[in-house]
Symmetry: C2
Subunit: 171 residues, 2 copies
Amino acid sequence: MKKRIIIDMDGVLANIYPTLIAREPMYNNTNTTPEELNGIPDSIAFPNLYEIVTSDHFFRNLPEMNNSQEALKYLHEKYEVLIVSAAMEFANSMNDKLAWLMEHYPFIRCEQVVFCGRKDIIEADIIIDDHPKNLSVFKGKRYIFTQPHNIKINDPDYIRINGWDEITQLL
Amino acid sequence: MKKRIIIDMDGVLANIYPTLIAREPMYNNTNTTPEELNGIPDSIAFPNLYEIVTSDHFFRNLPEMNNSQEALKYLHEKYEVLIVSAAMEFANSMNDKLAWLMEHYPFIRCEQVVFCGRKDIIEADIIIDDHPKNLSVFKGKRYIFTQPHNIKINDPDYIRINGWDEITQLL
C-alpha cells in the first residue's frame, strides 16, 4: 500500500510572496525586498496581509513554485497524495483555491484536496509544509519547505526542503 | 479528552429534499412526492441533481434540519465536533457551504469545518452521516441519519438515527 503524504498549498505549491510584495505597497506606501522578510512572520512583514489575501481573487492568480508540476507528479505516482490547505480562515478563498489547483496540477483529482482548520485531524505518514504550527502537531515524518518566514528555524524534528527540485531526491 | 465526532452536512444538518423536490420540475415537468423517494438513490430520484445543486447558490439557502441547532450545540459541548462535507465534487459550493454553517450554527468555529473528497482520511471516534459510502470506510462508531435514500438499509454495523431530537438520547 502506498504511503500517504499531505502537501500544503500556500508557500509550498503556490508562491505567495511575489504577490504579497507587489500588493502591500498599495496599502502602506513602503517597499519590501525579499531579503528583508527572512525570519519575519508574514503577519509582521505584511501588515495588511488579511486585506491582501481576501481581495481580488488573491489565491486564483498566484504563480506556482518552480519545478512543482513535475515533482508533484512524481509524488502523485509514488505516494497517495493529499493536498491539504488550512483554507477556512479565509472563508471566500476555497472555490478559487480548488480552481487554481485543478488548473496548475491537472493530474490531481478533486477528491485528493482537503480544506480544513487543523491538519492534525488527517491520518497520513508524511507532511510537507512551511508552517511549524502544522508540522509540530503532525505525528509522521515532517518536511519543512523553505520560505522566508521559516528560514531561521533549525529544528532537528524537521527535514528541510529548499525547493521542489530537491523533493525527487529526498522522497 | 473529549471524543471526536464527525458530522455530515447535506442530509444531516442541511435538509436538501424540500429544495430538490421544488427544483426538479423546473427541468423535467414531473412532480415527486416525498414518499416516492424512499429507497431510491438521489441521482435516480432527481435526474437533474447535478444541475440543481450547482446552480442558484443551492447550498446557501437550504433549510436546517428540525432541532439540529439545539442538538448540535449539545454535541459541541460534549464532544470535539468536526463538520465534514464531501464538498469537492461541487467545486463552487464551498464558500456557500461555509457561510451557511456559520449562519445557522454560530457557535461552530470555522476551524471545525472540513471539506474533503473522502472521509476515511479523518481521525475520529464517531460519525453521523446519511451515506453508506462514508459510513462503510469509517473505523469508529457509525450512526446512519435517516433520509429517504437510505430508509431501506438495515445494516447491523450502523445505529440508525431518525432525527436530531433522538441524538441527545443516543449520544
